[in-house]
Amino acid sequence: MKKQKELFALLHHLKNCPSDFLDVKENLSKMITKALIADLFRKLFNDFEDDKDLKALLSQLNVSENEYRAIRVATWFFDQPLFHDNNLQDGITSFLFERLPLLSKHVKAETWLDDEDRTEEFVREALRSCHVLIDGESEDEAQDRLDALSTIKRLKILEETNAPLLRMKAIRQAMAEKKAREAANVYGRE
């Protein structure tokens, strides 16, 4: 089967993630997530059984429910021919255990599937962790597109710009109201 790296195909695949991956009884969540990761790695990589690092990671895995849900979505996403490549093991590992938990602090797991921009952000974050480029895209273009979608970057910019913006609106509003109301604006002015 052809290793597709076409954006719409990847988005399509992710959006088709069955709801079973999200909806798991909470007391089983951790166990099922671990099992899915192990399954995925077994499918993708030949000598997974001997990987002590991964076993250690799995045994230490302890994150929030939202992160378990996101990781399960990721196991669905990576389960396609494109990622059948031993060279990608480090990238996928770092996405599952580092990058995705970080992103999950700001994004609800179901949003990765429901919101078009978040779906694309997920796909691009995963590809970037794996150093894989979409067909016909340069590294700069990929980076630019990811930057534009990045939740973390967006929040950082908003946190810097929201307060001044709100203050500006409040001042303008106060000015408008005072102009419309009597104001003491003329007191003592010729």
Binding site: L7, D115, E116, D117, E120, E141, D144, R145, D147, A148, L149, K153, R154, L155, I157, L158, E159, T161, N162, A163, L165, L166, R167, M168, K169, A170, R172, Q173, M175, A176, E177, A180, R181
Partner: protein, 587 residues
């Protein structure tokens, strides 16, 4: 030369006529919409009211106007289906009708503090995004190419970059494929564009509800006048709904506060950061009140818009509307729940309002005013605004005076201490409207007088029977002097009236200064006026019973009733009581 241009635009016209059929079927094969007005020259388009752009819609007559000369100049002759489908979208999707158009503008205005005049511009951009996204993604029309072609002639601005970036986000296009001026790109615009794109997707079906949020996103791109003007210049060729409501007549039911609109005046930027609050505590306090302070409800139960806000909104919907008609409508709508009911003995009794035939019911009128029977008689097919009829009422001219209720004279203090009823809601004006309209309904005549003296006054030409004459006086403003001018009573009451009249004067404590003034014997005027009027006389005093006791006693001895109000809203209670007592079920 002219001939040459005409030939090619004529060819365009026949191509676009064919495209019209395909464009309609994009939305629905069964769509009934009149063929566009095809203008072969920009001169002809101007006569149709189309100036900046090459296309526009008119909600008033459900038409689309196309300037084929401009179509040719912008090189979009081949994009007929996209352009026409877009214009159809405005007619059947957003804004679709005068009322939704007005409600959307109202929602947008909540988010545009001090820039409400830019609401129509913002609405047009929003509606375009909604329609184009539907056409591009659900109807498989290549809308991007239209922008690519026209943008060649469009001066870019931060605002336009934001809109074009939003389309790039919506349609997953590479950076710069529509937002071609890369020098204008920055992180802030990217963030705003991405928020705007998800807003457009989320609110595509309930677009009215997204108006406030959309306007909040646009806000920083509109504040600086120079930047805004550049944005206007970019958008000029695309503006196709700005004048959609022009000439649309009065739209009723917009006086009441749109609570959902106020709640929707939220900035998606703050929503996106969730509960995390910016560090500066003071900023938070202010933001919490943004969009709500002082612009909240007014009048009875604080349910209504401020009159100034109402006038601005309706004038934006339809710049041709008469301001006086609006302010009359404003107080009429607020007064209407408090009026006496229409007399029921319509056919037999005298001196009451009777049906006087019918007139066209237009889409802006209250739905309950439709006379379905008359409408059905007029035409078997009900087409709103065409075959719908409403009933008109007029006064029965039978002049058996002994059967008629007393007339009423309403004098209002309109001195410097009163606020302008066009700018802020006025209880005295509402009270006068309730009494006046109730009296008219009951078949009485009404004389209204505003007085702020020394200085000026305005009054109706004697006792009148038309609502509009009365309301036009009551809702005016003087703001001069310090009180109601007692000499005004001489005008109607200089001699005994043949037909008796009640006298109601709404004023405050300063009236005693007026009564005591040296120029003339105002006490005597007050006394004879009441005798000549022949009905009851009431001074509604915004004052306290323990003030000016001697003056009050003098007035009472003359036969005046003194009704104290300490808080203005109780004037409405007085007006209701008065109307009920004097005008309800009178025969």
């Amino acid at each position: 030369m002219d001939g040459k241009i005409n030939v090619s635009t004529e060819t365009l016209r026949s191509q676009w006529r064919e495209a019209w059929i395909s464009a309609r079927s994009v939305w629905s094969a069964f769509l009934m919409l009149r063929e566009p007005v095809w203008c072969l020259t920009s001169e002809a388009a101007r006569k149709e009211g189309l100036t900046g752009s090459f296309a526009m819609i008119r909600l008033t007559d459900h038409r689309i106007v196309i300037d084929l000369e401009k179509v040719k100049n912008y090189g979009v002759g081949d994009e007929a289906v996209q352009v026409l489908a877009h214009e159809i979208g405005h007619h059947i999707y957003t804004p679709a009708n005068l009322r939704d158009n007005a409600v959307l503008l109202g929602r947008i205005r909540w988010s545009l503090a001090d820039m409400e005049d830019k609401a129509a511009f913002v609405a047009n951009i929003y509606e375009d995004l909604i329609i184009n996204d539907i056409l591009h993604r659900s109807k498989d029309l290549d809308m991007a190419i239209v922008y690519q072609k026209i943008n060649k002639d469009v001066p870019f601005s931060p605002l336009w970059t934001l809109i074009m970036r939003t389309y790039e986000f919506l349609w997953k296009l590479k950076r710069g494929s529509l937002a071609t001026d890369l020098l204008l790109h920055n992180d802030k615009i990217d963030v705003d564009a991405s928020l705007m794109a998800s807003l457009v997707r989320s609110y595509a079906k309930r677009w009215i509800d997204g108006g406030g949020r959309f306007a909040a996103l646009m806000y920083p791109y509109l504040v600086e006048e120079e930047a805004f003007k550049k944005g206007m210049a970019s958008m000029a060729v695309y503006l196709d709904t700005e004048k959609a409501g022009e000439g649309g007549g009065m739209i009723s039911g917009l006086v009441e506060l749109d609570l959902e609109g106020i709640e929707g005046a939220i900035d998606p930027r703050t929503e996106a950061t969730g509960d995390k609050q910016p560090k500066n505590k003071k900023t938070i306090d202010i933001s919490a009140s943004f969009g709500k302070t002082d612009r909240g409800g007014t009048g009875p139960k604080q349910r209504y818009l401020q009159p100034g806000v109402y006038i601005d909104l309706l004038k934006q919907v339809n710049p041709n509307v008469d301001e006086q008609a609006l302010i009359n409508q404003y107080y009429r709508e607020i007064a209407s729940p408090h009026l006496i009911r229409f007399p029921v003995e319509v056919t037999k009794s005298t001196g009451i309002m009777i049906p006087e035939g019918t007139d066209v019911w237009e889409s802006g009128d209250a739905i309950e005013e439709i006379d379905w029977l008359e409408s059905a008689i007029a035409s078997p097919h009900i087409v709103p605004g065409y075959s719908t009829r409403k009933r008109l009422y007029g006064e029965d001219t039978d002049s058996d005076q002994s059967m008629k209720p007393l007339d009423v004279y309403i004098g209002i203090d309109c001195s410097g201490s009163m606020s302008n009823p066009r700018v802020s809601f006025s209880w005295p004006v509402l009270a006068a409207t309730v009494i006046g309209l109730s009296a008219l309904r009951a078949g009485a005549k009404v004389m209204g007088c505003l007085s702020g003296e020394p200085g000026s006054f305005m009054e109706t030409k004697g006792f009148v029977t038309k609502e509009v004459d009365l309301l036009t006086i009551l809702t005016s403003y003087l703001g001069t002097g310090y009180s109601y001018g007692i000499p005004r009573l001489n005008t109607p009451f200089h001699a005994p009236l043949k037909k008796k009249s009640h006298v109601v004067i709404v004023t405050d404590d300063d009236i005693f200064h007026m009564l005591n003034a040296k120029e003339a014997n105002h006490w005597a005027i007050a006394e004879t006026a009441l005798q000549h009027a022949g009905g009851t006389g009431t001074m509604v005093l915004h004052s306290r019973p323990d003030w000016n006791k001697p003056g009050v006693k003098l007035l009472r001895d003359m036969g005046w009733h003194i009704h104290y109000v300490t808080d203005e809203s109780s004037m409405l209670d007085f007006a209701r009581e008065f109307s009920k007592k004097n005008y309800h079920k009178r025969r």
